[in-house]
């Protein structure tokens, strides 16, 4: 059953991502991004990452999507026009992406035996387990995140506010 859930949500995620790229109206793209984020959160849940799954919903599907929609409304972005795209994208970008994909896929296929198998849903990382690492071994990265938040606040004010 877990495999079925995995396949369902993995396909949903991929479909959402494709739809995001192909849609011409930014709002539709934003809505498909919600599909991507939410199905990702189910995949995290399947891997036993309970806290991460819920944080994904709260932060990404909730707060960040609101921001996206605000930006779309702020720009009053309408339907995008089709262009032929840049030549660099065709001659360097597409082969580059394909090469990257080939390298990663090749690596994972070659190493699939040494990775071993896993049973979806057979393990669980509780929030408590996460906290044990976060508030001891990774204490400093956690504290330093607050400086990152301060930088982001400064950035929001500096970039979005008008000069006097």
């Amino acid at each position: 059953m877990n495999v079925a859930i995995f396949i369902l949500f993995a396909l949903l995620c991929l479909g959402g991502a494709l739809n995001l790229l192909l849609q011409r109206h930014p709002i539709n793209s934003a809505l498909s991004l919600i599909v991507v984020m939410s199905s990702l959160s189910v995949l995290y849940l399947l891997l036993g990452a309970e806290f991460l799954a819920l944080a994904q919903i709260i932060v990404y599907s909730g707060a960040i999507m609101v921001l996206f929609v605000f930006v779309i409304m702020l720009l009053n972005a309408g339907e995008e026009e089709r262009t032929h795209g840049s030549r660099a994208a065709y001659f360097a970008g597409i082969p580059g992406v394909l090469a990257l994909f080939a390298v990663l896929a090749g690596t994972f296929v070659t190493l699939r035996l040494s990775f071993g198998g896993t049973r979806l849903g057979a393990f669980l990382v509780t929030t408590g387990d996460l906290s044990r690492v976060l508030f001891r071994n990774l204490l400093l990265p956690f504290e330093v995140t607050s400086v990152l938040i301060l930088v982001a606040i400064l950035g929001a004010v500096v970039l979005a506010r008008k000069e006097h």
Partner: protein, 508 residues
């Protein structure tokens, strides 16, 4: 992670291991709080002076760290040693000089001067943390702090069109590169089961799936290669350097690069030290590409900032040549080169910020014609920095290149050194072209931009940099000893030499 408590861990607080970062952060917080309560019209100069004092305190704290025995703190996430102190000092000095240059530059032109100082201080915190992190997650968070603050700083001239464009380009490509770095961390974790550099080193030494490790290293190299503008991940550099305010370019072309190179050194020689064959070819190719693309690109540029942007790509390439040398010598050469490059490049962009002013009145090569007659002192200082960038003897640039290429030759990479020297020859052409414009071409009628006059803080900054360029070129001894002591810390996590050398260095 139940490490035994060694005497050195009990002896002093772990906070001392990140004392410079703590001082920087607290100064940034202070600047941010005062900025919020100040009236909009009042001068922000006192805030700049507070920032300068905080930076001085952080530099002093870094020197103090030399007296501590090298070791880790915060459950093995950070390590203060001679290597981290060296880069702390480089970054601290860059930030200090940049603050001096900016003290009068932004005043009256933008209403976010206080935020500017706070962003520089927080960004410096991130860069400093990068150099002392031995845990990849810590590296990632600090890399984000440093990158995000530079993205914002690049867009500070909001009224011009190029500056916000520079900011958004840098941001989009930069976040993409960070994603690569993060993916590399994840693959590293997959291969070795840890994100701690020492644990990864153990995994690499045990021969944990070399294929996966190669891909992981490649991903991290892409991420960091972007941050230090190595070809073929350099395309953002000219546009961003052209659009960002000149003092910010001076900062972001040196300090974040020094930090990213420090991380790359720790990853390459520290974590992947037993698997040099994995990364040597990658580094070799990127060094050749960066030197060649950088110098050929600079030849075709008419805009001085774009020319210096390509030159910075080339210099990142020279620096990468040091990576192909054997461990202690290569690390020392790369570390020294970051310091030498910082002195001359911050100086060059400082002079540009002075000559072209906030509105960037002088951009193209011909705008600098006859500068020597009208601004003899500034032109002389500019000449010193350009001569150092060429690599003429008795300057920092010469000794840096000399040391890097010697290290490469001694490690059997003579071909790479030859390519580097050929490139330096090409490079001399475009630096000399600018010098010739300044000194040989007759003076044009006076222009509006020439009303600028140098302020004391700016003169102090330039004096420091000119002195640094000559000091690093003529008496490199002490800095070089510190770089070597830093390189010695790589021989092992608990290395006796690393604990005694720095102290001896100071008492000499």
């Amino acid at each position: 992670m139940n490490e035994p408590m060694t005497p050195s861990m009990i002896a002093f607080s772990p906070a001392l291991r990140i004392l410079p970062e703590i001082l920087m952060t607290l100064t940034g917080v202070l600047v941010m709080l005062v900025e919020a309560v100040l009236k909009p019209r009042t001068s922000r100069k006192p805030l700049g002076i507070v920032a300068i004092l905080g930076t001085l305190a952080a530099i002093a704290a870094s020197v103090y760290q030399l007296f501590l025995p090298a070791g880790t703190a915060f459950f093995g996430t950070v390590q203060s040693d001679a290597f981290s102190v060296f880069f702390h000092l480089v970054i601290g000095c860059i930030v200090l000089v940049t603050l001096l240059i900016s003290l009068d530059y932004f005043e009256g032109h933008t209403s976010f001067v206080g935020e500017y100082y706070a962003l520089i201080l927080f960004g410096a915190t991130g860069m400093m943390l990068m150099t002392c992190s031995v845990e990849l997650l810590m590296v990632f968070i600090s890399l984000e702090i440093s990158s995000i603050s530079t993205y914002i700083l690049a867009g500070y001239r909001k009224r011009s069109a190029t500056s916000p464009e520079a900011s958004i380009k840098y941001f989009l490509l930069g976040s993409f590169a960070t994603a690569f770095f993060l993916y590399g961390i994840a693959l590293c974790f997959g291969a070795t089961g840890s994100t701690n550099l020492y644990e990864i080193a153990k995994g690499v030494a045990d021969g944990a799936s070399p294929l996966l490790l190669t891909v992981a290293f490649g991903m991290m190299l892409i991420g960091l290669g972007f941050k230090v503008s190595l070809a073929p991940f350099h395309v953002w550099t000219p546009d961003v350097y052209e659009g960002a305010p000149a003092p910010v370019v001076g900062l972001m072309s040196t300090a974040p690069k020094a930090a990213a190179f420090a991380v790359l050194l720790r990853i390459a020689y520290g974590a992947f030290g037993t698997a040099i064959h994995i990364w040597m070819p990658l580094v070799w190719i990127m060094a050749v590409l960066s030197m060649t693309i950088g110098n050929l690109g600079a030849l075709t540029q008419r805009n001085v900032k774009r020319m210096l942007a390509y030159s910075s790509i080339a210099h990142a390439g020279y620096l990468l040549v040091a990576f192909t040398a054997l461990a202690p010598m290569g690390i020392a050469a790369a570390s020294f080169y970051t310091a030498a490059y910082a002195a001359m490049n911050v100086g060059a962009f400082g002079i540009i910020s002075y000559l072209s002013g906030y509105n960037e009145a002088r951009t193209s090569l011909s705008d600098f014609a006859g500068i020597a007659r009208r601004h003899p002192v500034a032109a002389a200082a500019f000449a010193v920095f350009l001569i150092s960038l060429i690599g003429i003897p008795f300057t920092a640039g010469f000794f840096g290149k000399f040391y890097v290429f010697t290290a490469a030759i001694n490690s059997g990479n003579a071909w790479l050194a030859v390519l580097g020297l050929l490139n330096s020859g090409v490079a001399a052409f475009y630096y000399l072209r600018l010098l010739a414009q300044m000194y040989m071409v007759p003076v044009e009628p006076p222009r509006e931009a020439d009303t600028a006059h140098a302020r004391p803080a700016f003169i102090l900054a330039m004096a420091i940099l000119v002195l640094a360029v000559f000091a690093l070129g003529i008496f490199p001894g002490r800095i070089l000893d510190l770089a070597r002591a830093g390189a010695a810390t790589f021989s092992g996590p608990a290395n006796a030499a690393s604990q005694t050398v720095p102290v001896a260095l100071l008492r000499r």
